[in-house]
Symmetry: none
Subunit: 220 residues, 2 copies
DNA sequence: AGTATTTTACGTATTTATACTTAATTTATT
DNA sequence: AATAAATTAAGTATAAATACGTAAAATACT
């Protein structure tokens, strides 16, 4: 069996070196190229036709997500893997949407990283355990992901503050105001105020509709 | 911080011992109970109220999946984790549907296992990397999982009458009791009685949870 | 025809949510 | 330092939901 050829794209040389060192011990994996930004990653992939391109999500010129989406037209046989520090739902879903074969968190340990690369090379997607949560919840709440709904002003129309989102989340979990108040060490009146404000913002007039709308508009 | 209390359910003593040995080194995790089949797992959970119940998928009397589904009524605070040898799509999706917080493959290594338990204890779902593929594909190919064919007697546990379902549907639509009463030409008291009965049947104690459970259990 | 289930609805009491307003603190932003 | 935004929380009033128990009709099932 031939080695798995990798191209690493990350704007920090240090990070690239770290990953390279990590992979060096594994002798069926080989880093054949590196890139410092999205464009370069695509060009390198086009030239070297690696099996896998590891893309940092945050890079100059072009993000890893954009690069992942374009990868197949530069090197059809290469598979993109997104590397990220965050387990943000948006990112994970966008990665999926961009056709990425994996989404790895930066705190993934060596063993898992290698396991993931091998699995992906075998054609199976791999999402870090820390991220599977996002997929699971998305599936449970059964909205198939419709690629990015242009977070223009819609985001503002229903703009909720951090605290409001937190409380909304607890309401969605079926918690009573009293429970929420206790768990946040706040007065029940405060929670009531927040709920009132949330309902006003969402233009609804009862808790169930509030939850409905929150889920529908994905405000959590 | 207190330890994470675990109950292990697997029909093979050897497997239980293996897992126990694996977890022993971790000093914020403690195995407080064991069970050899699904029924026993539920009874043990009811008594010991562990944080997490690790359930082998294949067990005598009751499978891990069934036990996971019933766990919340035996020990509401406990989270179920399914342990399986297979990454079968059906199993994974059924685990999700049963409300499990995780799905771990039996070849999961020690580090990952512990990471998973901690993460799950923190309230975040964890699905083995080898399994995330299933979730990802399911999401991409966008058929939201419609809970398995005929859930045998589960149907009976939460059996709602036609009227109750009708009213539940209206509640889910965010209607107030007054509106429901008007649209059905019934008294508000009647609607209240129905709601009370529905909530008793679903073992919940507020409207949002009623809706949550109804959606989750697909009772409409 | 007789029994079981479902649907309807009242009583009574308690709790919780809704509907606003106002306003004192914190925390961010410029 | 000044302004804006967010968080907290009170007042006051009304409306609605929750928690049972009880029970008369209407339907369904054997």
């Amino acid at each position: 069996m031939s080695k798995i050829n990798i191209v690493l794209a990350d704007d920090h040389v240090l990070v690239r070196n770290g990953i390279k060192a990590m992979l060096e011990s594994e002798n069926d994996i080989r880093v054949i190229g590196e890139a410092g930004d999205g464009n370069e990653a695509l060009e390198t992939a086009k030239t070297l036709k690696p099996d896998i391109v590891v893309l940092d999500i945050r890079m100059p010129n072009m993000t890893g997500l954009e690069a992942a989406a374009k990868l197949k037209s530069y090197s059809p046989g290469s598979k993109a893997v997104i590397l990220s520090m965050h387990d943000s739902e948006e990112y994970v879903l966008q990665a999926l949407d961009a056709g990425a074969y994996g989404y790895l968190l930066k705190d993934t340990d060596k063993n898992e990283f290698i396991k993931a690369l091998k699995q992906i090379h075998g054609g199976t997607k791999y999402f870090s355990g820390g991220v599977s949560n996002v997929l699971a919840n998305r599936l449970l709440h059964t909205k198939p992901y419709t690629s990015a709904p242009a977070p223009t002003q819609k985001d503002d129309q229903y703009h909720l503050t951090k605290r409001e989102k937190e409380i909304l989340g607890l309401v969605i979990d079926g918690k009573h105001n009293k429970e929420i108040a206790d768990s946040l060490s706040k007065s029940v009146r405060t929670i009531e105020t927040h709920r009132f404000n949330i309902m006003k913002k969402l233009e609804v007039n009862n808790a169930v509709d509030m939850v409905n709308k929150a889920v529908k508009e994905n405000l959590l």
